[in-house]
Symmetry: C2
């Protein structure tokens, strides 16, 4: 640690746990992707079926990255109890027989309803390159950043239940290709997400003991809101403005 | 190698070197970013100074990634002669006293002329998250893919001299904040890029001996055109459509 860093730590005492939590929670209303125009169009019924399909196809890449980033997180800790707690996140997304489907298969129920071929969705060939780069940036973040910040990056889950509720109600009301069964993924997340975010919030409040590490956690949540936002930006340009990049899913083409 | 892969190799003989080179060269006219609306606006004088600054600020991230990906490439080969050839690419970008400035410093001459603070540019804080993800995807590609495909990913240099000439002429003609000195980066690349691409082309023609590996090289060049395209997509949405993401450079704000 160089002298400059020492000085910063000395002059910035750690936030109280309450202040730290407040700093994390303040990111949602300022930067979460429920503020993005594409989200508003999606739940407001302003998209056609091809645009919703493009969203679901791209978002599959994110769903697919989540269990990989959780495995990467587990690979970095020697704390068996932490791994035993964390592993249910992988179960949640990949499913564990005979228990249940898992989030990825629930997501494919949605892409089925949108008329997309499962092999095409799972290949991720038609996804926007920008989507794939953003999702991999998330996996890399969890691989490379301090473990506490890596944990903190999952805390957009704090803001997820309200966006899920908004999606379920908005999409059911506005799209005839959406029914209760199709929204299974989001309904399941309504109970899963709060469990995860409560654990993570307590974990980082316990383990981020310096102001520097607390700020790294705040930066991690901002990183995460950025990468969620970037995904909707890419969808907006390709499927609302209409500038679909070479090789990406084109709802107007039969072959897709 | 499983039976399925064996069958593919058996039924697809390698392309001749001429056909392989033709497959690589055909990617430029179909997918290179000189086809992107943002490029046309840039060299056609249709952007204002703030939009050009946004481009230069973001493109700095790409310039900054290039010597890192070249170092990653060198870290993967035990072939000393290959490293001795490849290392000049790092010299070209980072400069090596007492020889010359290097591409990164030439790039900062451009951002100076656009009124951007060097520290702000180099911090990459104001760059679009999508730009940073795309650039890191390139570095990761070179770290993770087969070495021959990693080399092939640099072959967009085959298409670069014509875009550089177009940029130099178009930007000099159309923008009063651009002069010969400011375009130093692109002028230098006119001689550097062909040297690099000629070497790489011979290298992959020699070392990609199966059809499978030749196809991986074609896919590598497509990957690269995708990541260049994605950078212009992000610029277009933020600075032409006007949807600047939270925290990114805003030409309209004093603080940037």
């Amino acid at each position: 640690m160089n002298e400059h860093v020492r000085t910063i730590i000395a002059t910035h005492a750690p936030w109280s746990k309450e202040e730290f939590e407040a700093q994390i929670r303040a990111i949602g209303p300022a930067r979460y992707h429920d503020l993005h125009p594409f989200h508003k169009m999606l739940h407001g019924g302003k998209l056609n079926k091809g645009q919703v399909a493009a969203w679901a196809l791209n978002r599959y890449c994110y769903q697919e990255a989540v269990p990989r980033k959780d495995a990467a997180f587990m690979s970095r800790t020697h704390d068996r109890e932490l791994r035993r707690e964390w592993i249910h996140r992988i179960h949640d997304h990949d499913g564990l027989p005979p228990e249940e489907l898992g989030g990825l298969e629930r997501w494919l129920i949605l892409t089925d309803a949108l008329g997309l071929d499962r092999g095409y969705v799972q290949s991720m060939e038609g996804a926007l390159p920008a989507t794939r780069y953003a999702c991999e940036a998330y996996v890399r973040f969890v691989v490379e950043q301090p473990l506490v910040a890596a944990a903190a990056s999952s805390l957009t889950e704090l803001f997820a239940p309200s966006i899920h509720r908004e999606r379920i109600a908005g999409m059911l009301a506005n799209y005839d290709f959406v029914n209760d069964n199709v929204m299974a993924y989001f309904k399941r997340r309504l109970t899963q997400a709060p469990r995860d975010s409560n654990f993570t919030l307590e974990f980082i409040k316990e383990h981020a003991r310096t102001r520097e590490m607390q700020e790294a956690c705040v930066a991690a949540v901002k990183f995460k809101t950025d990468m969620l936002w970037a995904q909707l930006d890419a969808l907006y340009l390709a499927y609302v403005v209409g500038m679909i990049p070479p090789g990406a899913y084109n709802p107007g083409e039969k072959s897709a």
